[in-house]
């Protein structure tokens, strides 16, 4: 049975049996988690072959999430991009406000199939946490979300949303107190509670099968957008652009375009205060291959393999790793990855808000900033597709402080 929204890649770019995309991926996990990770892989393989799973997920993606998501052309914004045409894939319009729900619903169904009653997850900006808390409310699962203490402060609205949905939110105070440390803490929880707990991992990193499975749940983004842009613009885009933290929204957009060799795949990384400043999260620009959170990929690390603390104004991109399939695409030369600073992202955020009436998440604003540069490079004949991975409501406090939008600061 063919399905419309759950579209796993069973034949194209799939990892090896050991979970490798070229030199990247694998399964670097403690023995205590091997059985649980293998169970996820086995259950996912069974689910992929089960028409009932696809049918139930499709039903949720249509009637709960609101798929397909819209494709919006943004001509007033594009005037600042050398006149190229720019279309936005509106994952911000999904229920819960970002692409994260695509993966979460798939894994929530998987959790139920495995007979587990408790879900844990990490979150950076809170979008994955909110989506996970939402699915747990929907399925009646116990839910614990780990979130770096720094992020609980800058994304306080999402903390409240998660708690409203009945989830327990645990601020993590170790390390840099951001996404990486939230993942560490979630792994510690999982080792201790693995019998009844599924770790609903939020990005295309982690040990096999997570990179391939989470990508499959997000493939719908690119499959839809590829069809939509051909209908609307009459051709494939010159470039597709997406922000990359762990890389889930980017791989979701890119994947359907990998065989289209005329389409450039452009990932935009968080350069924070600049790649040369040392305060950034530009893993593919400045990292080296290593192992973090269960797989081999590019990693921000020092010369002795200690992970260095990343920085970005965007909590969702503030991560020193990257999904292994991105590392593979980078080394193949099939995808390119560029750094975008805090300032460039924030200016793009304001520009889209003021020209199109769409307030993007700061994460997605990195992709918009990249699109402005791409447009200038491509010229007026250019056609660019950008993944607007999330909406910016959660970022209003950060943006208000950045631009001085609060009354007392405007004085």
């Amino acid at each position: 049975m063919s399905t419309e929204f759950f579209i796993p890649d069973n034949e194209g770019q799939v990892p090896s049996a050991a979970g490798y995309f070229g030199a990247f991926g694998g399964k670097f996990i403690p023995e205590a988690l091997v059985a649980a990770v293998d169970e996820v892989a086995a259950e996912y393989d069974k689910a992929k072959a089960d028409p009932a799973f696809a049918a139930e997920l499709d039903d949720l993606l249509v009637n709960y999430t609101g798929r397909p998501s819209a494709l919006t052309e943004v001509p007033r914004f594009a005037r600042h991009a050398g006149g190229a045409r720019i279309f936005l894939k509106r994952e911000d319009l999904n229920h819960t406000g970002s692409h994260k729900i695509n993966n979460v619903l798939g894994q929530a169904l998987l959790t139920r199939r495995m007979g587990k009653t408790r879900v844990i997850a990490e979150t950076g900006a809170g979008q994955h946490g909110v989506a996970t808390a939402t699915a747990c409310a929907l399925f009646g699962l116990e839910c614990t979300i780990y979130m770096g203490e720094v992020d609980t402060k800058r994304q306080a609205l999402n903390v409240a949303r998660m708690r409203m949905l009945g989830a327990e939110v645990i601020p993590v105070t170790s390390g840099s107190r951001t996404l990486k440390d939230a993942i560490n803490e979630a792994f510690r929880d999982w080792v201790a509670n693995v019998d009844r707990t599924h770790y609903l991992f939020g990005t295309v990193a982690g040990p096999h099968p997570f990179p391939a499975m989470v990508r499959d749940f997000h493939r719908v983004i690119g499959v839809e957008a590829r069809r939509q842009i051909q209908e609307r613009a009459g051709r494939l885009p010159d470039a597709v652009a997406a922000c990359v933290g762990g890389g889930s929204n980017a791989i979701g957009l890119f994947h359907a375009f990998i065989p289209d060799t005329g389409v450039r795949l452009v990932g935009l990384e968080a350069a924070g205060h600049g790649v040369d400043s040392g305060e950034h999260a530009a893993t593919l620009t400045a990292g080296e291959p290593g192992i973090l959170h269960g797989s081999r990929s590019y990693v921000l690390q020092d010369d002795e393999g200690q992970i260095t603390e990343p920085y970005s104004i965007s909590a969702g991109l503030d991560y020193p790793g990257i999904g292994p399939e991105h590392s593979y695409l980078k080394d193949l030369g099939r995808a390119e990855y560029r750094p975008v600073t805090d300032e460039e992202a924030m200016l793009a955020l304001r520009l889209l808000s003021e020209t199109e009436g769409i307030i993007p998440a700061i994460e997605s604003a990195h992709a918009l900033a990249g699109a402005l540069d791409l447009g200038r490079e491509l010229g007026s004949e250019g056609l660019i597709l950008v993944n607007l991975s999330g909406r910016g409501d959660k970022d209003m406090d950060t943006a208000a402080r950045y631009f001085g939008l609060y009354d007392e600061e405007a004085k």
Partner: protein, 277 residues
């Protein structure tokens, strides 16, 4: 004991040490401390104190920025060591000096990324040159371990794999066939740290592991006092204690002599525990 022969410090010494404990009809006592904690020299003194006061073997931890398998106590120690600027050269010096001072087998316990980054062959060669007995690599599953095992064999280093209560019998066989020195049996599903009691799962895991191998099986995670050590010694070839030693040093932060006295006292207690019948 400072004079060492060609083989001492390598995996043969480890095997001989564990065999000697077995010959005394007791479990061996294995202690753990991270290098560089509270300082590099303080850590060397502490590892040496453990070996002088009752530990048969010491594992020197290589502090890591992201110790995913460690509880708060070892996380805190790793943080202190890293803030103090500990480097792999310091870890190797800790191995060298603790071994040279006592003649006892000293292993390194480390997450995989530092070794991957440093160079597998380079680390194995330098660890062997420092007199190290081998490595425990808790986040390197057997499927990913070929490169390390080749280097370890070349330098006569032991490769100690961890098994867990969740490991099924066929996996246990695969893991123990690839390992050397001893098998590290995690007493429970969880991260490092002291526990009120040692899980019943431990005895079952040791029995299932023994069915697959002649290697000694040592039990770690959660053991913090002589009572627990005595209990584990009933069914295991060795008792591994880490967080409890680290906690003694943390309790006396800023007063190294007091910390060393405390770890000596604990090592002596535990050593009595593993000899209780």
């Amino acid at each position: 004991m400072a004079e060492t022969s060609e083989l001492t410090g390598r995996r043969e010494l480890l095997a001989a040490t564990l065999a000697a404990a077995r010959a005394e009809n007791r479990a061996a006592l294995v202690g753990y401390l991270p290098a560089g904690f509270p300082t590099v020299d303080g850590g060397i003194a502490a590892c040496t104190a453990l070996l002088e006061s009752g530990c048969d073997v010491v594992e020197v931890g290589l502090p890591h920025s992201d110790p995913v398998l460690d509880g708060p106590v070892i996380q805190t120690a790793d943080d202190i060591a890293l803030r103090g600027g500990v480097r792999i050269a310091d870890v190797l010096r800790t191995v060298r000096e603790a071994h040279a001072a006592t003649g006892a087998p000293v292993l390194v316990m480390t997450y995989w990324n530092p070794i991957d980054r440093y160079g597998v062959e380079r680390f194995a060669a330098e660890l062997a040159a420092a007199g190290g007995a081998g490595c425990i690599l808790p986040d390197l599953p057997v499927e990913e371990a070929d490169l390390w095992r080749k280097a370890a064999d070349e330098h006569q280093l032991a490769t100690v794999f961890v098994v867990a209560p969740s490991s099924r019998d066929e996996r246990l066989a695969k893991i123990t066939a690839a390992g050397s020195g001893f098998v590290y049996a995690a007493s429970l599903m969880g991260v490092t740290g002291t526990r009120e009691s040692v899980g019943r799962e431990a005895a079952d895991l040791v029995a299932r592991t023994r069915a697959t191998t002649d290697l000694p099986v040592c039990v770690g995670l959660g053991v913090s006092n002589a009572e627990q050590a005595a209990e584990v010694a009933q069914f295991a070839d060795g008792v591994i204690v880490g967080s409890a030693f680290v906690k003694r040093l943390l309790d006396h932060e800023g007063d190294l002599p007091a910390g060393l006295a405390a770890v000596r006292e604990l090592a002596a207690d535990l050593a009595a525990g593993v000899r209780r019948h």
